[in-house]
Symmetry: D2
Subunit: 397 residues, 4 copies
Amino acid sequence: MIKVAVVVASRANYARIKSVLFALRQQARVHLQLIVGASALLHRFGNAVEVIEKDGFVPAAKVHFLIEGETPTTMAKSTGLAIIELATLFENLRPDVVVTVADRFETLATAVAASYMNIPVAHTQGGEVTGSIDESVRHAITKLAHIHFPATEIARQRLLLMGEDPRWVFLTGCPAIDLILLTDLEQSPQEVVRRYGGTGAALDLRQPYLLVLQHPVTTEYPRGLEQIQATLRALDILRMPTIMLWPNADAGSDEIAKGIRQFREHKNPNYIHFYRNFSPEDFLVLMRHAACMIGNSSSAIREGAFLGTPAVNIGSRQQARERGRNVVDVDYDTEQIVSAVRRQVAMGRYPPDYLYGDGHAGERIAAILARLQPGEIPVQKVLYYPQFWEKRYRQSA
Amino acid sequence: MIKVAVVVASRANYARIKSVLFALRQQARVHLQLIVGASALLHRFGNAVEVIEKDGFVPAAKVHFLIEGETPTTMAKSTGLAIIELATLFENLRPDVVVTVADRFETLATAVAASYMNIPVAHTQGGEVTGSIDESVRHAITKLAHIHFPATEIARQRLLLMGEDPRWVFLTGCPAIDLILLTDLEQSPQEVVRRYGGTGAALDLRQPYLLVLQHPVTTEYPRGLEQIQATLRALDILRMPTIMLWPNADAGSDEIAKGIRQFREHKNPNYIHFYRNFSPEDFLVLMRHAACMIGNSSSAIREGAFLGTPAVNIGSRQQARERGRNVVDVDYDTEQIVSAVRRQVAMGRYPPDYLYGDGHAGERIAAILARLQPGEIPVQKVLYYPQFWEKRYRQSA
Amino acid sequence: MIKVAVVVASRANYARIKSVLFALRQQARVHLQLIVGASALLHRFGNAVEVIEKDGFVPAAKVHFLIEGETPTTMAKSTGLAIIELATLFENLRPDVVVTVADRFETLATAVAASYMNIPVAHTQGGEVTGSIDESVRHAITKLAHIHFPATEIARQRLLLMGEDPRWVFLTGCPAIDLILLTDLEQSPQEVVRRYGGTGAALDLRQPYLLVLQHPVTTEYPRGLEQIQATLRALDILRMPTIMLWPNADAGSDEIAKGIRQFREHKNPNYIHFYRNFSPEDFLVLMRHAACMIGNSSSAIREGAFLGTPAVNIGSRQQARERGRNVVDVDYDTEQIVSAVRRQVAMGRYPPDYLYGDGHAGERIAAILARLQPGEIPVQKVLYYPQFWEKRYRQSA
Amino acid sequence: MIKVAVVVASRANYARIKSVLFALRQQARVHLQLIVGASALLHRFGNAVEVIEKDGFVPAAKVHFLIEGETPTTMAKSTGLAIIELATLFENLRPDVVVTVADRFETLATAVAASYMNIPVAHTQGGEVTGSIDESVRHAITKLAHIHFPATEIARQRLLLMGEDPRWVFLTGCPAIDLILLTDLEQSPQEVVRRYGGTGAALDLRQPYLLVLQHPVTTEYPRGLEQIQATLRALDILRMPTIMLWPNADAGSDEIAKGIRQFREHKNPNYIHFYRNFSPEDFLVLMRHAACMIGNSSSAIREGAFLGTPAVNIGSRQQARERGRNVVDVDYDTEQIVSAVRRQVAMGRYPPDYLYGDGHAGERIAAILARLQPGEIPVQKVLYYPQFWEKRYRQSA
C-alpha cells in the first residue's frame, strides 16, 4: 500500500486533477487521502466540495485557509495559513507522497509543507511558462518537488534544464485534457446551462455564442478593473449571446467582480448570462460549442487546443505559454478584442491538436504513483547538473 | 530613496548579512528596514537581537514565528507562520525591495510573502548546492527571487542554467566573508571566550584546540542523536581542548542537544566547554586559531577557505558544496573523524583561498541596491531560456 | 503620556467607538494608536478604512485576519489569526492600554492578546445581554478586561454581579449614541442615499420608508436563509420604499446574502434599494426619518431609543437586551412582521429615551483614559466577591 | 452515541483529566476523541504523549501550536494558533461536546474554538480563584462554557454568582484528586525516581526530603529570575535532599529555567536532583512521602489537602485559592521560606482534608457526559440573573 494525499483547494484544480483521482481510485495498492480546502469549500467560489462528493470521493479532511481580501497581501497570508494547516493534516494522515497541482497558492503551500516534512511531492503542470505570480510559483514548486509530470515535451525539457533529475521526470500529458474523452460533448449547451442558476439574460445558445472567463493578473494588481472593462466594452459591441463566469479567488478578483457588477448595473446587458461555476465536464461542453472563447483562462489554450475552440487570449496572464493555432493574442484593448473575436468566429472550429496531451495522463500518473514503494523516492534532492560534479573540489591556486 | 527591508531571524543569518547591513547604512539613498524575528529573539538560541542592537541597528519590527518542537512538522508550520507575519509587516512597512539570506525557513517565508505581494526579492547565496532541505529551499527561493547575489562563479552559472535573467544576476562574493577583513583576528581566543559564560570545563586555549559545530540534517531526521554521538565519541578519543556550540533551531536540533546533554552527564568531559553563541567576529577569531574545525557548519567551508582553517566536515549536510583544500570529508563514523582530525591538526593552517569572496561583497550588494529605482525591477519573472522563445506558437501538424 | 491602542475591525465597531476616538484625539496626554483590520479593510464590507482616514485618523497599522467562509469554523479561525497578528502589533506598538469594542470576534481577540501580554484592556458595552455567540463572547471579554465602560445602569450592575472590581467600572453611556448629537439629522434622506451607489429600485424617500438590516444569528447557523426569507416575504407584502443593507461578516452572512440575491433575482422588487454601507452619520439620518426599522440590528434598540424610531425586532439576536418603548419584538414570521410594521408605522415617532446614554460617553471615556498613569491599572485581576475573602483558609473538620 | 473530544496539551493537564478519560473509556455510549498537542508532544516538557499512549489512549489527532519564546507575546500567539488548529480538528472530528481543563492557554483556545463553532464546552476547575493570568482566563472560559464541573462548593457558588445556569453546574470534586485513590502510595520514593533520568546529585530519599516546583507568574513577568533565586537561596540554606522539577511552558519559564541553570553551575549543589517530568502517579508518591513541598504549584494545595503533605506556598500564583491547613504562605523571601519549611517539616503530615474532592470526580463527570443527548445542551447561553428578567422592557420616563 502507498498512501497518496492530494490537495484540492479550488474548482479549477479539481478539474485539473480529477482524472488522476479517478485513476488512483482504481489502483488497489493506493490509499487515496483527499484534502479539500479553501475556495473549494466556499459557495462564493462554486462549492467544489459538493461536486467532489457527488463524484464519490470522501474527503479525508476539509480545511479553511483562505484569508479574505483577494489582495496580494491576503494571498501571501493564505499561503502561510495553508502551510500551517496542511502540516497538521500531513502529520496526522502520514501520506507516502503528496500530489500538488499546477501553480496556485495552495499548490505552493502543499509543496512547502510536504517537503519540510520529508514527504515526497509529485507535481503536475511543471515546466510550463505563463505570466502572473503563477510563473514564479510554478518553478519554485518544481524546485521543491520530487516527481514531475509535465504536460508537454517542451515543459519536460525546461524541467531538465532547471536541474531536475531525469529519472523522476515523466512526460504524461495534462490530466485536464483527459476529461474531454470522458465527457459527452454532444450534449446541448442549452441543456447544460439549464442545470445552473446564474443571473442575467435568457440566451439562445443555438446561436453562435461567446464564452468569457477573465482572471486577475496578480503581478498587474490593481489594474483588474480597467482590464475587465476593456473586455466588457468589447462584449457590448459584439452583442452575441455570452456566457460569462466570475473570476476565481486570487489577488484582484474583487476588482474584476466589481467591474462586472458595475457593467451589469449600468448597461443591464440583455445578451449576457453570468455563472459562478460549472462542473468541469459541463464547461467542456460549453467550450466545445462556443463560437469563441474570450479572456485569459488557461483552458482556452490547453483544452482549447484539443477541442479546436477558437479563442481570443487577452493580456499577459498566459504569456509565453505554448499554444496551438486556435489561439489569437490581443492586448487589453477593446478594438483588438472585437476584431479578433470577429475573425475567430468567422474561422470556425480548428482541427484537434494534442499539444497538451492525448487524454490518458491520469492513468499514466496513477500507474507511476501506484508502482512506488514508500520510501523509494529520495527526499534529498540534488541539483542535476553533472557538468559541475567533477569540479566539486576546486583547485586553489 | 529606496526602502530596503532585510529579515534576520537567526544568529547564523545575521553573520551572513551583517556587512550588507553596514554598507546599506552608509548609503544615503537607502532607508533600511530591519525585521528581527524567530530564534534571533530567543535566549535559547543566543539572543542575536541584542548583538544587532549593540551594532547600532534599531529594528523596524520584532516578530515571533518559531513554533516549538524542532521537528519537520514544526519547521513547516514556522514557515507558514512567518509568511503570515511578514506579509503584515511588509504591508505596513511597504519596502521597495526585500533582502533574504541563504536558505533557512524564514528565507523561504520572506521570499514567498514578498513575491506574492509584488515586492522584488534580492537573494544572497543562491546557486550553491548542499544537502538537507536547505538544498530544495535554496533553489525554490531562487525561482521566487528577482535579483541574485551569488557568492561563487559556479553558483552564478547554476543560476543562469536554472533560467534566471542574466541582467539580474551579480557575482559579488559572499557577505559572510567580509567580516574577516573587519575583524581583529589576532585577539587571543582565551580573551574571546572569557566574554561568554557557557558551561563545562576550563580550557587552555594556548594549546591546539578544536572547534565543533554540528547541526541537524533535516532530510535525515530523526537520526540526529546517533549522528552527534559519533562526533562526541571522537571527541572523547581526541581529548583536546574543545569549544563546542549548541545547534541552531532546525528540525532535529532537539535530538542533537539531547545527545550533547547525555554525553555531558555521563562522561562529564573535562576537555569541553559548551557555548550557546558567539558574535560573528568572535567566532572568526576562534576559527582563525583553531587547530581544526569539526562538524557540518558551512562556515568551515566558506570562511574556512579564506582563513585556511583545517576542517573535518561530517556527513551530508554540505554535500556537493564547493570547497577549498582546507576541508576533509568524512562519514558519521567515529574512526574516520578521529583520523581525519589528527591529519588536519598535523597539517596546520592552509594558505588563503578566495573561493567565496574577497571580503567586499557587502559593499557591492549595497551599491547595487542603492542604485535601484523603486519599480525598476520587473516583478513579473520570465524563465530565461531564449531557445524556446521562438517556438512559442507551435506548428500543429 | 499614555499610549492608547484601539482596534477597529468592522464598519459597525467604528461607529461604536468613533466619539471615543475623536475625544482621545483632543487629549494632549494621549498618544492614540489606531489599528484597522479585517472587514474594515475590505470593499465587500464597506471599506471602513476609507471613512476612518477621511475622518483624519492615520492608522498605526493595517492588518488582514478575516478567514473567508463566514461559517462558525472560519469565525473561530479568524479569532485565532487576529490574536496572532494583534500580539505582534502590540509587541511593536507597546500600548499602555488597549480599548476593545462590544462583542465581535476581533473584540475577543484583542482582549485575549492584550491580557496575556499584561496590557490592561478597556471594554465598552460590557454587561449587556443579547442572543447569538456575541452573548458568551461579551461576558468572556468582561472577565479578561480591566476597565469597564458600561452603557446602562443595569449593565453596570451585571458587571458587578459577575465579580468585576467596582473601582474600575464606570457608567458612561454608550459612545454609539454620541454621534447623534454630532450629526445634522435634518438632512434629507434622499440627499444622503444619493452619495451611495447601491443597486435596485429608485426610491422616493419623501414617502414613509422602511430601513432593513438583518444579521445572521451565529448560534442558529445555518438557518440564516429561512430567517431572511420571512423578512423578505414581509417586505413583498408591505411594498413600501425600502432601504436594505447587506449583513456584516459573521458566520451565516453568506446565507443571508444568498437569500437577498435570490429574492432580488426572482422578484426584481421595484420598491427596494440595496446598499453595502453608510457612514455612521448618514445611517443615523436614515434612522431618524424612517417610518420603521426592521431586522435585528442593535442600532434599532440603542440609537433607536434616543431617536424614537419605531422598530420591529425579529428573532433572538437581541434577546433580553434592554430596550425602550420604540421596539416591538416578533418571530421569524412573515405575518407577525407585517402586522407589527403596520402598527409601528401608524404609531409614528416615539419620544426620546436616554436609556443607552446622553450623547457624551466618548468624552467621559477619553477623560478617564487620559487620567491614567501607565502601570496604574493592576493587570492582576481578582474576582470581586468579598463575601468569600474571609473564608480563604477553610476550617477543615 | 455521543462524541466527546478532550484536548490535552500539557503534562499538567493530563494529570488533571486522566480519571475522566479513564471513566469515559468505560462508558459504552461515549466515543472519545483525544487531541494531544503543544507541550504534551515535546521532549523538553516531558513528552506527555508517550505516557498517554502507554495508558492505552490512541490520540485522534496530534497538533503542534506552541510558539517558542515563553514570553507573554508568544503565549498570546500560541493561544491564537491553537484556536486555528483546533477549529480545523473540530470541523473534521465533529464532536458533540468538548471537555477543556482548568485555565491554561490551550484551555481558553479550546473554549473559544468550540463555542464559536456551536459545540458545547464542558469545563473543569471553574470558579476557583488564583493569581497569574490564569485567573482572568479561567473566568473567561467559564463565560464561554456550557457545562461546569467545579471542584469545591465555594467554586460552585462563584459560578452561580457569575451568572451561570444552575441546571448546568455540577459539583463533582476535582478529577486531579481521583488519581490518589488509584495509586499505590506506599511505593518507595527511591524506586520511583530511579525510573527517571534527571540530572544532579544522588539523593537518599529515606531521609526527609523536599519537593520543589515553582512556575512563572505571568502577570509578574519578567520577575521570574529573582523569584526563583529567593527559593534557590533557601534550598542552599536548608540543604535537605531535594527533588526539583523544571517549570512548565508559560511566559517566564525561560527565566525560571535560567535561574536554576545558573544556580546549578555556580553552586553545583550536592543535595538537589533535577527532573523534567514525572507521571502523575509517581508525582503523587513523591508528594505523599515528602517532608515538605515548596513552590507555587496548585498540586500542593489541591492534592496536598487530601494527602496532608506539608507545603510552603510562595508568592501570588495561588493567591486566594481555597486551601486546607497543610499550606503555609510566604513571600518571595529566602528567610520566610526557610523558616516556614523548618516549621512544616517539624509538623509532619496533616490529616486528610476532602476540600477538593473525594476521589470520584472522574466517574461523576463521565456519567453526566454519557447521559447527554447530542444537541441537548443549549449552545445559546443566557446570563442567569433572573432579577433582571422582569425589567426587560424598561419604563421610560
